[in-house]
């Protein structure tokens, strides 16, 4: 079969699929209770959710909780009163949801959790869409294993905020990713609080402590912002980030793609802001013929390197509100 025929067939199949799916969501009212806009990623999630809803013709009612659970509960009660078709919640905390979710269940409104789990009986929500933070770390680690080959590689790690779940899980995942390779070892690990400024300061300390950075082969940062700070510190020390010291991090924010274009970052694992896409798909199947989705839908943890059209990825993301 020629390429063109293949493409045509693929396009036809996907057109068929997309028209079959989502047929039922058009015109439906769906409530979305968002935590707030504490980070760039959160803002991007909001804008992607809105655009996904628009694509499907969904009338999305958006409520910003400004980091307060009581606002979320109020918003959910409001959605129930309006008789929406479904509710999406990005829960700000894990506890205290039983009562309001029971009300939604009694009103027969399916609830989908986005990007964070809750401590509540599983029958109170249809499904939860989230990323696997351990896997994100593992993908980063496995990339580094492939990148260095048999060479010895001493890694410094910039952790997220001490005790936070992404910091714990991304650390664990990375360690799993490199554990079968004795030539890779983490020699220093400190917290950079997920910020650029602290990432830079901690990296400065690492570079001094490791003979001006000569002993360091790679830096692994639990988020891109810290990696951006570390890149500046490496440059200040007279080394080349991206070649003298490899830079791998997680999140996929626009600025790391810009660094990739400049040859200063090597890889990032995307935490996709598109949690709503899989949520709408699951919801559509459920509303159409009652298909029960899996209880935990895991989003893809995609690896990006400069070879993946970094400039294009930057352009695609910069308008999303990161």
């Amino acid at each position: 079969m020629s390429i063109i025929k293949k493409l045509a067939l693929a396009a036809g199949v996907s057109a068929l699929l997309s028209s079959a799916a989502y047929a039922d969501l058009s015109g439906k009212v769906i409530g979305f209770s968002q935590i707030g806009s504490e980070s760039g990623w959160r803002a991007a999630e909001t804008s992607v959710t809105k655009s996904e809803a628009e694509k499907l013709g969904i009338d999305l009612k958006f409520a910003d909780a400004q980091q307060k659970q009581e606002n979320q509960i109020k918003a959910i009660r409001g959605f129930i009163a309006q008789g929406v078709a479904a509710i999406l919640i990005a829960p700000v905390v894990a506890t205290g949801w039983e009562e309001v979710l029971t009300e939604a269940k009694e009103a027969n409104i399916p609830v989908i959790l986005l990007d964070r789990g809750i401590d509540a009986p599983q029958d109170l929500y249809l499904t939860s869409v989230a990323s696997d933070q351990v896997k994100e770390g593992r993908v980063a680690g496995e990339w580094l294993v492939g990148a260095v080959g048999d060479k010895d590689c001493k890694i410094v790690e910039l952790q997220g905020t001490v005790g936070s779940s992404p910091a714990i899980n991304r650390k664990q995942g990375f360690e799993e990713g490199i554990k079968d390779h004795a030539n890779l070892s983490i020699i220093r690990s400190q917290t950079g609080d997920f910020t650029r400024a602290k990432g830079k300061e901690v990296m400065e300390g690492f570079l001094k402590a490791e003979d001006g950075g000569k002993g360091i082969c790679a830096v692994y940062a639990h988020n891109d912002d810290m990696a951006v700070g570390a890149i500046q510190a490496i440059k200040d020390a007279g080394l080349k980030p991206g070649s003298d010291i490899l830079v791998v991090s997680i999140d996929g924010v626009p600025d790391i793609f810009q660094a990739m274009v400049a040859g200063e970052a090597n890889a990032t694992v995307e935490l996709t802001p598109n949690m709503a896409g899989p949520a709408f798909a699951a919801l559509d199947a459920y509303l159409t013929d009652g298909t029960q989705p899996e209880k935990f839908i895991i989003t893809e943890s995609k690896l990006y390197t400069p070879a993946d059209d970094a400039q294009g990825e930057y352009d695609r993301r910069k308008g999303l509100g990161y």
């Binding site: 220093r188 917290t191 400024a197 830079k200 300061e201 690492f206 402590a209 500046q232 509100g321 990161y322």
Partner: protein, 332 residues
Amino acid sequence: MKRVHWKALLLRPQFFALAAVLLINWLLFPGFFDITLQDGRLFGSVIDVLNRGAPVAILAIGMTAVIATKGVDLSVGAVMAIAGAVAAVLVTGGASAVVAVAAALAVGVLCGLWNGVLVTYLEIQPIIATLVLMVAGRGLAQLVTEGSIVTFSDPVLIFIGTGAVLGMPMPIVIASVLAIGATLIVRKTALGLLIEAVGVNRSAARFAGISSGLLLMVVYTFAGFCAATSGLIVAGDIRGADANNAGLWLELDAILAVVIGGTSLLGGRFSIPMSVVGALIIQAMNTGILISGFSPEFNLVVKSGVIILILVLQAPMVAQSLRKRFTAERKA
């Protein structure tokens, strides 16, 4: 006469503390005092301590003046974020760096004036008055940046955070100029005495003919100016304004620096140079933790342990007995 004065100064517990922390850093990492020249600027752990300590030292300069009047300014961290945000948004919008820096400093001054008005004319307790801006200010900064990190590539703004003059990083230069300038102004004129008078007893000071209202306005405005300066430095350092994190909790570090420096929270007794030393002690400790290789779970434990030790050493009773022993040994 002069010699005795200097000896008394160097015998202060703050210098012991700083020396002790630096010594421990050196023991943990033998290359601690190594300094080299890298791309025309000094490069080394000691330089890091000075460079990273500069923003808090600058905050502490302003904070010292405020605390000397028996006040406190909790808003300085938020003002840093606002100033950085304003400068970043202006340069990315096409304004010249001079305009951006001037606007950022002006916004800092305005924030200081706001605090001053609340404290002086509405007579709100300083801790509450400045809490307003501490909370609202960060929101303002986020409004200015629309919640994202606004990055810039303006060479002048970047120079403020990462440039160097004769090899000395800019933040150190700015902090030194401010510290020396402020110290000269308060100590070579009657201003310091007036501030102390207001701090001891505002009504008495007013009856003695000091316009304490004006003086309070001046110190809060100065604190706002210092905060804006710090904000420009941290924004320039990361080439972007991070409204969520810039200056976060630094007001507490600044207050701690002032307290370690021996300024009384009850007002009436203050020393700007010692507050700067306090800021350096805090940063020497932070840098030491970074190069020590301890796991990050211990950061706060180590930090609080050292701070408790320093404050105990400074307690009047302990300090006096130490001083007595030291001078006795010298005589013997």
